[in-house]
Amino acid sequence: MSSRRSPRPGFVLDVDRSTPPILFHHGEGFRLEKLPPGRSRVLYPAEPLPGIDDPEAAIHHALHHPEGESEPLPALLFPGMKLTIAFDDVSLPLPKMQRPDVRQRIIEQVLDLAAAAGVDDVHIIAALALHRRMTEDELRHAVGDRVYDAFAPRGLLYNHDAEDPDGMVVLGQTRHGEDVQMSRRAAESDLVVYVNINIVSMDGGHKSTATGLAGYTGVKVHHNPATMTKSRSFMDQTSSELHKSNWRQGEVIRDAGVKIFQIETTINNNTFGRTGPLAFLQKREWEWTARDRATFIGMQAGLKGLPAARRRQIFHSWEAPYELTSVQAGEVEAVHRVTTENVYRQHLVPVEGQTDVLTMGLPYIGPYNVNSIMNPILVACLGLGYFFNLYKGRPLVREGGVLIMSHPTPWEFHPVHHPSYIDFFEQVLADTTDPVEMEARYEKQYAEDEWYRHLYRTSYAYHGVHPFYMWYWCAHALEHLGRVIIVGGDVRATRRLGFSPASTLQDALEMATDVVGPQPTITHFHNPPILMADVT
C-alpha cells in the first residue's frame, strides 16, 4: 500500500455566498457557474484511493489465491487445452490509462503461466460485444506490444465478431426464456480467462462474458426498454434488472460447461493526475491555487481558438495515471462481490434526500466515443444513462424533477464509428423519442441491416442496433424526469433529442421552475472523476 495520507472521502458542499463558481465539464471545454446559495449543494467525488504499490505481485497473488470455489489458475492449465483470454474493450477505462494498461499486466502473467503449463492453443479476444472493433493502436495499448506482436500476426489476437455466422453459438435459454449466446471459440474452450477493468459497479461479473462475448441474439434480451425502465440504477446490482438478466445468463453459461476464471480489477479516481495540466479538475474549486486558476484561464483561452477536431484530439490523447486499487480472481460471483466492495469504497458518497434540479457537466468522453465524436445520442446516453444512474437507493433528483446537462451537443457524427447513429438521428428520433415505440417500429431494421453488419465486421463501426441501446439506456431517466435541459448545446440537435435548449445555466434554472416551482433545490453532480451517490 502507498504511504500517502488517507484520501478524503466524497463530500457534499452546501453552497453559500462565499462558494466560488463551480466547474462544469462542457465537452472539450469547461464552464464556471455560480449556483444559487442557500438551496444548492455540490457532490464531490472522493479523492483517489491509494494505489497498490506492486501491481505485479498483487496480480500474481490473485491468480494463485482465487476467490470462491475455484482452483488457482496454474491448476486449471494443462497441455493440449484450449485457452481463451478475453478482455474488456476500448470502452474501459475512461479516459484510457497510462501504459502499461492493467490488462497487459494481467494477460502477460496469464500467458506466462500458460506457457509454463505447456498450453499452446491460446486465443486472445477483445470482448466488444456490439461495440466497434479496436484498432491496432488501441489493441497494442491494451495488451502491450509484446502480446500483440506474438499473437496478432498469427490471427490469435482479434476482435470479437458477433456477426460471424460460424463464430457464434447459442448455449440455451434462461429460466426467463432469455437466449444465451456466446463466442464459439470461448464456449468450446477448456477455460475462459476474462480480464476486467471495473471502473463502475455495473462492470464485470457475468456481464463480462454474457454480454461481452455475445451478439444481438444474447444482448437484446436485456438491452431493451422493458429491462432498462425496470432497472432502478444500473449501478446498483440489487435494483438492476440488467444485472439480474446477465446473472441468469451466467448460470446458463456455467451449466453449459463453460469454465470461466474471472479476473477483476478496480482502479482509483486518479483520472486527471495529482500534478500536471489537468490536476485542477480533481480539486475542489476553493482549493484551486493561483497556478490552477492560471492554468484554467490559459486552457480556456487556448481551446477557444482551436477547431473542434483539434480540441478533441488534444483531450483524447490524455492518458490517466490510474492506479490499481484491487485485483481479485477466481469464481465469477465471488470475485465480483469483492470487486463491487472495492468500487464502492472509491465511489460511494452518502447523500441525504433528493433534489428538485440536478445539474451536471458532461465531459468530452464516454464509453462509446473513445477517439471519436460525442454525438447527440451519446450525449443523451452519458447524461441520462450513465450519470443519472450513478446512484444507490433513490435517484438524486426527485420524480418529476429536472435534469440540466451542460454540453455543446454538436450535430456531428463520426461516420466510420457511428454510421447507424446518423440514420437513427435522422429517421428514428425525428419520428419518436419513445423507447418502446422505436423498439417496435425500427429496431429490427437497424439490427439486421446488411450494410451496418458489413461495417461492424470489416470497418470500425458500432453495430447497427447500438444507437437504440444508447437511447434505451436513457429509458429510466426519461420516465423519471419532468424535463431535460441542455445548456450550451446545438439548439436543433437538442430539440431533436426531445430536450429543451438553454443558452446559460441561469436560463436553464429559470426554465426548470416551470416544472418544479420557484426556488427549487439544486444538486450539482461534480463528475468526473467518478462518484456514486448513496441517496437516503
Binding site: V416, H417, E426, A461
Partner: protein
Amino acid sequence: MKALRFSRNLPRYAAARLAGSVVSGRGAGPGPLDLVDVDPPELPGPGWVRVRPRLAGICGSDLATVDGRSSRYFEPIVSFPFVPGHEVVGDLDDGRRVVVEPVLGCATRGIDPPCEWCARGDLGNCEHITLGRIEPGLQTGFCCDTGGGWSTLMVAHESQLHPVPDDMEDEAAVMVEPTACAVHAALRAGVPAGGTVAVLGAGTLGLLTVAALRRFAPSATILASARYPEQRNLAALLGADVVVEPTEWLRGVRRLTGSFAVGDGAIDRLTGGADVVIDCVGSAESLADAMAAVRPKGRVVVVGMPGPVTVDLTGLWHREIELVGAYAYGTEEVPDPDGGAPRRARTFDLAFELVRSADLGRLVSATYPLSRYRDAIEHAAAAGPRGAVKVAFDLRDEKERHRL
C-alpha cells in the same frame, strides 16, 4: 391589352442573369420582361380561337427565363417577343371555360400529314416545332404568335382546348397543365410493381409527381426529398411513404432499399438503390444525387429542366443506368393494375382526374394581378421557404380583362 412581354434584349438579359443570381426571381426587375400595352394577337388561321386567361401559373421554366438562366438550347425554338404563361385556365368568347394544352404540334401549325409523333398522340415530341403557320415556339407562352397566359388575351388552337367541368374551380383547373407533366413523368418512370421510386425535389413538379406516382404506381414505395417543412407535409399528404431532407437523401434511399454504400460510413454513393429516381430539380447536383441513389440498371428520369450542367457520367456507364427525360405530355399508355393490357389516354384527361381526386387545387398558394408581377415572380421563386407551392397571376378582374 395588358401583357407581360419578354423581348430579345441581350443587355437586359445579362442584367436579369446578374440580378437573378443574387436573389432568385429578382431578374424581373432589370430583365427583358415588361408590363406593356400591346395589340391582341391575331388568329393565325382556321381553328384558332381567343382565350381570356383567368388564372395563369408561374412555372420553373418561366422563372429560369425571367432570371436569364435558360439554356441557349431554346433560342431557335422560341420566337420573340413572347408573352409567357403556359399554365392557363381561361374563357372562350362563347363562354366556355377551358384549360389550354400549350404544346404546339403539327395540328396547331396546320401541318398535314402530321409527323410520326403527333400522329400517335405524343405531341411533346413533335418534329415540326419550328415549321408551319406560326413562328417557332415549343409551347404557347414561348411563341410570338400565340400570346401567353400572362396577359388578358391570347389565342389557342381548338386542338389545345380542354373544357373545364362546371364544378371544378379555377385554382384546380390551373393545376391541370403542371399535373399533366407530372403524370407523364410518373408513367415514363415505369416503376416496377412493388418497386421503390425516389423523387428529388418537392417544388410544384416534385409534389405533383409524388401524387401522380401514388395514383399510377400504387404499389410502389415512394421516397421524396423536401427542403422545407410545408413541402415535407405536402409530400407526405400527397402520398410519399418516406420524406427526407435533401441532406439525408442518400441515407434515406439507402435505408429504404437496404442497400450497401460506397464509403466507410460516410456515403459517397449507393451500390444498390431505388429502382427509379425522378429528378425534379434539374441541377448538376441533383443529377449526380439521382445517379448516386439509383440501383444498377435503374432509371433516372429528368423532369426538372436541367440546362447546361457538368455531371460525372461514369456511374451511368458503370452501373448501366438508364437516363431519360420526361418533357410535357401527349398520350399515355396506362398500365392495368390487374396485369391486363394497358389503356391509352390523353395525359390531360388523366391530369384532370388526378387534380380532382388528389385535390391539387389546394397547391395554389397565392395569386397576384399582373401589375404586381415582380412580387409574384419573387414569391414564386421563393415559394419553398415561404411555405408556398404554386403562385399564379389572377386575371379575373373584369375591368382588367376588358381593357383591350
